[in-house]
C-alpha cells in the first residue's frame, strides 16, 4: 500500500433530503493511523456524512475514496469495500437473533467466507480487544447491557479487519455510567493505531483521542485543526458557542 495515499478521502460531498441541504460540499482526509473527531450541534449532518462514506446513504454528488479506490464510482463493488469500513451505529444494531459470538462471526463466515473455526478465533481476539469476557459469548443481545452491546458491535466491525473505523455517536444511546467503558475501548483502539473517524458529543474524549477536530455547521466543515489549537482559539462563532455550551452543561 502506497503510504502517500490517505485511507479515506472525501471530496465535495453533497446531500440533501427533500430540498433541505444536509451536506454542502464536505472535504476531508484521514491518513493511516489517524483519529479524527467530528463535532457540531445536533442535526447538522454529521451522521449523514458517516453513512454517506460507506454508501449506506447515497450522496447526491461528490467523490469518496478508500485507499485510492473510488467508492462513488458505480462500477466499484461496494459490498467488497464495505468490508474494509468498520461502522459502529448509535443504537448498536446487533443482530437480535444471534448470540454475541455469532454477531461477530457472521460477517466473517457469510461475507468473507472464512471457515467457522477460524472465524471464531478471529472473533475471540476481537472480543478480547473490547473486553467482552467469554462468559457473555453465548448470550443474546437482549441479555447484555448497553455498554456491552456497543462493545460487541465494535468487535463485530473490528473482526472484519477494516482499514478504517467509523463511529456514529457511539455513546449517545447509553446510560451515563456506561459511556466510559465504550470510550475507553475506542481510545485503546485508536492509540493502537486504528484509523478512525468519530462523531461524538463527548468533548473531553475528543480532546484525548483526536489528532484533529472537525466542526461541521450548515453542511460544511467550518473549522478544523489539532484539539488544543481549536479549543484554545476557536475562530468560528458556532464553534465558540458550541464549546461554551458544552462546558456550561458539564457545569
Amino acid at each position: 500500500m502506497n503510504s502517500n495515499i490517505p485511507v479515506l478521502k472525501v471530496e465535495n460531498l453533497k446531500k440533501s433530503y427533500s430540498g433541505r441541504i444536509i451536506l454542502d460540499g464536505v472535504n476531508l482526509e484521514v491518513d493511516k493511523g489517524e483519529t479524527k473527531v467530528i463535532l457540531g450541534p445536533s442535526g447538522v449532518g454529521k451522521s449523514t456524512l458517516l453513512r454517506c462514506i460507506n454508501m449506506l446513504t447515497l450522496p447526491d454528488s461528490g467523490k469518496i475514496w478508500l485507499e485510492g479506490v473510488e467508492l462513488t464510482n458505480p462500477n466499484t463493488d461496494i459490498n467488497k469495500m464495505r468490508q474494509k469500513i468498520g461502522f459502529v451505529f448509535q443504537d448498536f444494531n446487533l443482530f437480535h437473533h444471534l448470540t454475541v459470538l455469532k454477531n461477530v462471526t457472521i460477517g466473517l463466515t457469510k461475507v468473507k467466507k472464512i471457515p467457522e473455526e477460524e472465524a471464531i478465533k478471529i472473533a475471540a481476539s476481537a472480543l478480547e480487544k473490547v473486553h467482552i469476557p467469554n462468559t457473555l459469548w453465548n448470550k443474546y443481545p437482549a441479555q447484555i447491557s448497553g455498554g456491552e452491546k456497543q462493545r460487541v458491535a465494535i468487535a463485530r466491525a473490528l473482526a472484519m479487519k477494516p482499514s478504517i473505523m467509523l463511529y456514529d455517536e457511539p455513546t449517545s444511546a447509553l446510560d451515563p455510567q456506561l459511556v466510559g467503558e465504550v470510550l475507553q475501548v475506542i481510545k485503546e483502539l485508536s492509540t493502537a493505531g486504528m484509523t478512525s473517524l468519530i462523531v461524538t458529543h463527548e468533548l473531553h474524549f475528543a480532546l484525548e483521542v483526536a489528532n484533529e477536530l472537525l466542526f461541521i455547521y450548515n453542511g460544511k466543515i467550518v473549522e478544523q485543526g489539532p484539539p488544543e489549537e481549536v479549543f484554545a482559539n476557536p475562530k468560528h462563532d458556532m464553534v465558540k458557542k458550541y464549546i461554551a455550551s458544552i462546558y456550561s452543561r458539564k457545569g
Binding site: N54, L56, N79, K80, M81, R82, Q83, I85, F87, F89, D91, N93, L94, F95, H96, H97, I106, G107, K110, V111, K112, Y140, P141, A142, Q143, A153, R156, A157, M160
Partner: protein, 229 residues
C-alpha cells in the same frame, strides 16, 4: 332408553372410528394447504417488501383477489373449471382441495409475513450492509431468521382457520371429518350427536395443533425478539 333411540347412540358407537379416521384426511388437507401457502406466501412477501414496482403490484393483486373469493367458489372453479376445462388436467378432489386451500392461504400468509418483515428494525439491514453483505445476503441471514420467528403466531392462527375451512372440502366429497359425519347421520338417522361430536373434534384438533405451534414458538424463541405486532 328413549333418549338412546332418538339419538341412535347404539349405532353411533360402531361408526365412531370411521368418523375419527376423517381426522387423517383433515390433517392431510391442512398440512398440504399450509405447506403450499407457506411456500408461496414467504417468497411473495419478500417480493412485496424488497421487490420492484411490478412485482409489488402483481402480489397486491393476488392478495386482493384471493382474499375475496369464498373457498367454496374457489373449489368449484378449480375442480370443474380451471383444471379440467382450461388446463385439461383431471385432478382428484383431494389434490384440488389442497390447491384451493393453499393458493388461498398464500394470500393470508403473504400479509402475515409481510407484516413480520416490516416489523424488523431497519437498523438490522443497515448493520448487515455495513459488514459488506449484499442485499439478498442481508435478507437471508439477518432479516428472514427474525421474521420467520415473529410470524409463528400468525401461522398458528392460519392453522386454526384452515382446519375449520377444510371442512368445506366436503363439497367435493373429500373423506374428511365432516363428509364422514354426514354419511354417519344419514346411516343412523339422527343428527345432533354426530355433528356435536364433529364440532368437538374440531375444537380438540384446533387446541392440540395450536399447542404444538406454541411449543415450537417457545423453542425457537430468542430473548428480546418479541413476537411481532
Amino acid at each position: 332408553m328413549r333418549c338412546a333411540e332418538i339419538f341412535g347412540l347404539g349405532l353411533l358407537g360402531s361408526y365412531l372410528p370411521y368418523m375419527l379416521e376423517g381426522a387423517i384426511w383433515t390433517f392431510a388437507l391442512v398440512g398440504g394447504g399450509l405447506t403450499l401457502g407457506f411456500a408461496m406466501g414467504v417468497p411473495f412477501a419478500i417480493l412485496r417488501v424488497y421487490g420492484g414496482k411490478g412485482a409489488k403490484a402483481a402480489i397486491d393483486a393476488y392478495v386482493w383477489v384471493y382474499r375475496s373469493i369464498p373457498l367454496i367458489v374457489l373449489l368449484f372453479l378449480y375442480y370443474w373449471g380451471i383444471f379440467p376445462v382450461i388446463l385439461g388436467v383431471k385432478l382428484s378432489a383431494m389434490a384440488t382441495s389442497i390447491l384451493a386451500l393453499g393458493t388461498r392461504d398464500a394470500a393470508y400468509e403473504t400479509m402475515i409475513f409481510r407484516a413480520a418483515l416490516e416489523s424488523i428494525d431497519p437498523g438490522q439491514m443497515l448493520a448487515a450492509r455495513s459488514l459488506g453483505m449484499t442485499r439478498w445476503q442481508a435478507v437471508r441471514t439477518i432479516v428472514l431468521p427474525q421474521a420467520l420467528r415473529i410470524a409463528i403466531p400468525g401461522w398458528t392462527n392460519q392453522y386454526a382457520i384452515m382446519l375449520k375451512d377444510s371442512s368445506i372440502c366436503f363439497a367435493l366429497g373429500v373423506l374428511e371429518i365432516l363428509t364422514r359425519t354426514r354419511y354417519v347421520t344419514i346411516s343412523i338417522g339422527s343428527y345432533f350427536i354426530p355433528y356435536l361430536i364433529a364440532g368437538i373434534l374440531f375444537i380438540i384438533l384446533t387446541y392440540g395443533g395450536t399447542k404444538v405451534f406454541n411449543i415450537v414458538y417457545e423453542k425457537v424463541q430468542i430473548p428480546g425478539l418479541v413476537g411481532g405486532k
